[in-house]
């Protein structure tokens, strides 16, 4: 994507963040987000998503590197940036004894050009809970309240840190629709998530963070295309991988075995699957727990975690593989 500097609403260059104990949570990342774009930061817990977003929001000062939001440093030029952005933190931050509408009213008093309280609550479907104390809200309702406050000042740039964590399926869909509508109206959105389908559906572009670095970035399509498709199954007792047709001829580029379980990687899913199934039919073999999966963001995501682990400690690899059934 070719965006000029003027259009770069968020511009991050070689950003680093080190905590007091010396832990380096963000280790030199660069990316930019254009006006009206929706950019997703993906990563496992501890990958550095929140640490990064907090730097973009101006809550902390980077150890090194540069952040520009709407052309300003969000930390040292807080007063110039804050009235134009909306922030949804990952959790909490409401006095539990306030009601929903009291919380929003307080925030409205601190927000330039705030929407009416009622309108903000209707936007996120919380209007009927207006007089309920915050401590009585469910986790999902608290996320909605959070979102209402982030949207209160009609921000040009919206930071959403795991906006749908804790929401039920319906709430998640509601939030997605709302975020899409905001984007359609020209709001620039940066969101973090560990729900891959969320990023796949919403994001124009995304970056996968791993251990404080960007492991992979691009459009969801570009990122997915870097990954092979996967086939996994269990061979009956007495059969071994060697009994399969030569894997190279099936288009398979890699395989793993774990007892009777076999996992194949292939860039040509149809060819590999057809070859495998024809062989099974002719040999009269039942492939139990057969799972055929096209390349997906999830694969890309898991692959990054896998590579990192393999690189880290070879002897740990076997132990880890057995636990690989990550959601």
């Amino acid at each position: 994507m070719n965006t000029t500097t003027e259009e770069r609403v968020i511009d991050v260059t070689d950003l680093r963040r080190t905590y007091a104990g010396g832990f380096e949570a963000v280790r030199g990342i660069s990316f930019h987000v254009g006006k009206g774009e929706l950019f997703a930061l993906l990563g496992t817990n501890g990958a550095g998503k929140t640490s990064t977003v907090e730097l973009l929001e101006g809550l902390a000062k980077p150890a090194a590197g540069q952040v520009r939001v709407l052309g300003h440093d969000p930390y040292s030029e807080r007063a110039a940036v804050r009235p134009r952005i909306g922030v949804m933190l990952q959790e909490g931050g409401f006095p539990s004894e306030l009601t929903v509408s009291e919380s929003v009213r307080m925030w409205a008093g601190c927000t330039s050009g705030a929407r009416p309280v009622r309108e903000a609550l209707e936007l996120v479907g919380l209007a009927r809970r207006a007089d309920v104390r915050v401590k009585m809200l469910s986790g999902g309702e608290k996320r909605r309240l959070d979102l209402a406050m982030a949207l209160l000042g009609r921000p040009e740039v919206l930071f959403l840190d795991e906006p749908t964590t804790g929401l039920d399926a319906e709430g998640r869909v509601d939030t997605w629709e709302l975020v899409r509508a905001l984007r359609a109206n020209g709001t620039t959105v940066l969101l973090t998530t560990h729900y891959l389908e969320e990023a796949e559906m919403l994001a124009d572009r995304l970056a996968i963070l791993h251990e404080g670095r960007i492991a992979l970035t691009g459009t969801p399509g570009e990122v997915t295309a870097t990954q092979p498709s996967r086939i996994s199954f269990e061979l009956p007792d007495g059969y071994f991988v060697g009994d399969l047709p030569p894997l190279g001829e099936l288009g398979v580029t890699g395989h793993e075995t774990d007892g009777q379980t076999v996992r194949l990687r292939t860039p040509e899913l149809q060819r590999s699957a057809t070859g495998l199934l024809l062989w099974a039919q002719e040999a009269g073999v039942e492939l139990r727990r057969l799972d055929v999966r096209p390349a997906s963001l999830e694969e890309a995501f898991l692959q990054i975690a896998r590579e990192a682990r393999d690189g880290k400690a070879a002897e740990e690899a076997d132990a880890v593989r057995t636990k690989e059934s990550v959601a």
């Binding site: 905590y19 809550l59 539990s96 004894e97 009291e102 601190c110 040009e156």
Partner: protein, 265 residues
Amino acid sequence: MSTTTLTTPAARTTPAGRMTALARTELTLLGRAKGTLVTALIVPLILPFSVQATVKESTLEGTGVNVGELLLTAAVGFSLLFAVYSALVTTFVVRREELVFKRLRTGELRDQEILAGAALPAALIGLLQCVVVTVGATLLLDLGAPPAVYWAVLGVLLGLVIAVGLAAVTAGLSKTAESAQVMALPMVFVSMIGSGMTVPLEVFPDRLASVLELLPFSPVITLVRGGWTGTLSTGDALSALAVAVAWIVVAVFAVRRWFRWEPRR
């Protein structure tokens, strides 16, 4: 720049507006926190009478202090310690641990506005109490009108600022809401005994007294008492002012340096 809305360009918030919004919320919350409210409202009004019960005229002999004056300074001191200092240590820690401060810092409020706005209701209650006990003491204890009331007013105002500042410092050192009250105790006790609130500093040996005069609330009590006795010399008043201002400077420095806006991870 505005994307979708038909409204006119939005009016920017002002520091006063932002702090008012925050102070109003804190007042609502204070009204709902019965325990804190009782401590803040009742203790400073009751405690002075226990002082009256224990202090005998004889202990004050030769100090030039009468029971009425001691009671008055005790009441003002207790208001500052309980209604303002102690209450705010808890408020600051709870808001931090609830991540309220972190959230407030994502908005347009500046850091000093957050602390000032959150402290405003407690400071006003403290001020109100000082006025109430002063009027009450004047009427009930036959103290008569204060000859140098300006020193007393100045002392109370400085005392409020010191109490707020020290509360923020103490909150920075407290890890949880439970430990916050324990962390506040040393300052409360030391001030009660060593700042002239319950025991006039004249009772102590000169050398010790001149050290105790440097405690944060000592100049406040000196000024308040001076307002009533009218015997405070300009030199003594100025040195009390200097000590008070020094503590405010120290508190501001310590808050900027050590105050934490988020819980420890």
